[in-house]
C-alpha cells in the first residue's frame, strides 16, 4: 500500500505541476487574449454606431478611421482629456476601467468616464459605454447617440453568463434594434432614460412609448438589469450631456 508520505508527496507534486502548467499557459496567452478583448471592444463601439461589416480582422483599421475623438469626462461634466491624433486605442479614454469608475460613483467619489466620438458620413455620433449587472453576472454594452445627445442611433449589449434563449437574448439584433430612434429626454428636456418594459411598450401611455422598449419574456431579471444599467450609466453622463445640450 501507499504510505502517507507518498500520498502527500504525490499530491504536492501534482498540484505544483498543474499550477505551473496553468500559470505558464496564462502568461503565454495573456497578450493574445487582451488583444482579442481590445479588438472586441472596438467592434462593439463601432457596431453601436451602426458601422457595418466590422470583423475581428478589420476592427482596428476601422476604429482608427471612424473614431475621431476620445473624450474623458468627470463627474461634474468637465472634459478632462481629449484625444484626437494617432492610434485611437492608445487614448486615455480607451483604457479606462468602467467597473472601477462606476464603483467610485456608487460610493459618492469622483469618477471619469469615456466618450467616443464617431464620424459617420459627416455626422457626429457619441458612443457611451455601459456596464451593469444581469442575473448571473455582469452585462455591458454601448449606446450611441446622435449629436443632439438625445436620439439613439444604436446599441450593443453583451453579457458574461445570462441564460441562453432567455436573458442572453439581450445580445441579439432583434432586441437591440428596438432602441433605434428612441429618446432619453422628454420634450421638456427631463431625463427619462430608456425603460425596458415587462409586457411590452404598449403598456406605457402613448407619449412615453418613445422612451421604452419591450422586455424579454423569461428574462425579467436581465431586462431589469438592462433598464438599471441604462439609467445608472446615462445618469453619470448627465452633467456633460446637459452642458452640451445647452450650447
Amino acid at each position: 500500500m501507499y504510505s502517507n508520505g507518498y500520498i502527500f508527496r504525490y499530491a504536492a507534486i501534482l498540484v505544483i505541476i498543474a499550477a505551473a502548467v496553468l500559470s505558464s499557459a496564462n502568461m503565454l496567452l495573456k497578450p493574445l487574449q487582451e488583444r482579442n478583448m481590445a479588438i472586441e471592444k472596438m467592434g462593439y463601439i463601432l457596431a453601436s454606431a451602426n458601422i457595418e461589416n466590422v470583423t475581428s480582422k478589420n476592427a482596428i483599421e476601422k476604429f482608427n478611421k471612424y473614431v475621431v475623438e476620445e473624450i474623458l469626462v468627470n463627474s461634474k461634466g468637465e472634459v478632462i482629456d481629449s484625444y484626437k491624433e494617432g492610434n485611437m486605442e492608445d487614448g486615455k479614454a480607451f483604457k479606462i476601467n468602467m467597473k472601477e469608475e462606476l464603483y467610485n460613483k456608487s460610493r459618492g467619489k469622483d469618477f471619469e468616464l469615456p466618450i467616443y466620438v464617431v464620424n459617420k458620413d459627416g455626422e457626429s455620433i457619441y458612443v457611451l459605454p455601459l456596464l451593469g449587472t444581469g442575473l448571473w453576472g455582469p452585462i455591458w454594452g454601448n449606446i450611441a447617440l446622435k449629436d443632439d445627445l438625445n436620439t439613439i442611433v444604436g446599441v450593443t449589449f453583451d453579457h458574461k453568463s445570462e441564460t441562453p434563449g432567455l436573458g442572453a437574448e439581450i445580445a441579439t439584433k432583434s432586441f437591440q434594434k428596438q432602441f433605434i430612434g428612441k429618446k432619453i429626454f422628454d420634450e421638456k428636456g427631463n431625463f427619462t432614460s430608456i425603460k425596458v418594459v415587462k409586457g411590452g411598450v404598449k403598456k406605457l401611455p402613448k407619449d412615453q412609448r418613445i422612451h421604452g422598449v419591450d422586455a424579454i419574456s423569461g428574462g425579467t431579471i436581465t431586462s431589469r438589469g438592462v433598464d438599471a444599467m441604462l439609467s445608472n450609466v446615462l445618469e453619470s453622463y448627465l452633467p456633460y450631456i446637459e452642458k452640451q445640450r445647452k450650447k
Binding site: Y2, Y6, I7, Y10, A11, L14, V15, A18, V21, L22, A25, N26, L29, L32, Q33, N36, M37, I39, E40, S56, K160, S161, T163, P164, G165, L166, S217, G218
Partner: protein, 219 residues
C-alpha cells in the same frame, strides 16, 4: 488471437472500435447511464452552444482520460478522486485559455459552460471506471466514444428545442414567416429546462422501443 495479450493489438481492433461505438447507442452515457443530465438540460436551448459544449467535452474527456491512464499506476487510491478532479479542472482551464487566445468568438460561447464541464459526471465517471484501469490508447478512444455519445444526444435535443422553441436552427430562420401570419407561434416552453427533460425522456423511450434489451425487468 492468442497473441492479443502479449503483442500490441492493432490500433483500431474490433475491441477498440467498440469503445467508440458502444456509447453511441447501447451504452450511451446520457440515455442509458443517465449521466451528465444537468448540462444536457442547460445548454440545449440552442444548437450552437450544444455543439460547442460537445466539442469541448470531447477535448477535455479524451485528454483527461489519457493523462489519468498514464498516471494510473502511481495514483494512491485514497486520493484518486482528488487527483482526477485536479486533472479535469486543469484541462478545462487550459482549453478555455487556448480558446480565448485563438478563437475568441467560440470561447465566448463556451465561457458559460466551463463550470459545467468540470462538474460533468460523465468525465469523472469515465476516469474512474475506465482510465484508471486501461492503457492510454483505449482510454483515449473511450473518451472520444463517450463524448460522441453525449454530444449526439445534446445535439438531437437542441435540434428539437431550437426548432420548436425559436423557429431557427443554428440561428437561421427555418419556420417560414408565412406560418406566423397564419397563427403559428413558437413554443416558449421548449426554451425552458423542463422541456429538455421531456425531450430527453422521449428519446430514451424511442431508443428502448428499438433496443428491447435495454428495458429493465419488472420485478
Amino acid at each position: 488471437m492468442s497473441e492479443e495479450k502479449q503483442e500490441r493489438e492493432p490500433l483500431f481492433s474490433a475491441k477498440n472500435l467498440k469503445l467508440v461505438k458502444g456509447p453511441l447507442n447501447l451504452n450511451n452515457p446520457i440515455t442509458v447511464q443517465v449521466l451528465g443530465i444537468c448540462s444536457a438540460l442547460a445548454v440545449t436551448a440552442k444548437m450552437k452552444p450544444a455543439i460547442v459544449m460537445a466539442i469541448s467535452v470531447m477535448v477535455v474527456l479524451a485528454a483527461s482520460n489519457v493523462v489519468i491512464s498514464l498516471l494510473r499506476n502511481g495514483i494512491p487510491p485514497r486520493i484518486r478522486i482528488i487527483v482526477q478532479l485536479v486533472v479535469i479542472a486543469s484541462m478545462v482551464i487550459l482549453v478555455d485559455q487556448v480558446l480565448k487566445a485563438f478563437v475568441y468568438d467560440i470561447s465566448k460561447q463556451l465561457s458559460v459552460f466551463v463550470g459545467l464541464i468540470i462538474t460533468n459526471c460523465i468525465i469523472m465517471g469515465r476516469l474512474e471506471a475506465f482510465a484508471m484501469g486501461n492503457k492510454p490508447w483505449p482510454a483515449f478512444l473511450d473518451g472520444i466514444g463517450n463524448s460522441l455519445g453525449y454530444g449526439l444526444i445534446l445535439i438531437v435535443v437542441a435540434f428539437f428545442r431550437e426548432l420548436f422553441g425559436s423557429g431557427t436552427l443554428l440561428g437561421v430562420q427555418i419556420v417560414p414567416p408565412g406560418f406566423y401570419n397564419i397563427g403559428y407561434e413558437n413554443n416558449g416552453l421548449m426554451i425552458l429546462p423542463p422541456m429538455a427533460l421531456i425531450t430527453l425522456g422521449v428519446i430514451i423511450w424511442v431508443q428502448r422501443y428499438y433496443k428491447r434489451e435495454l428495458i429493465e425487468e419488472n420485478k
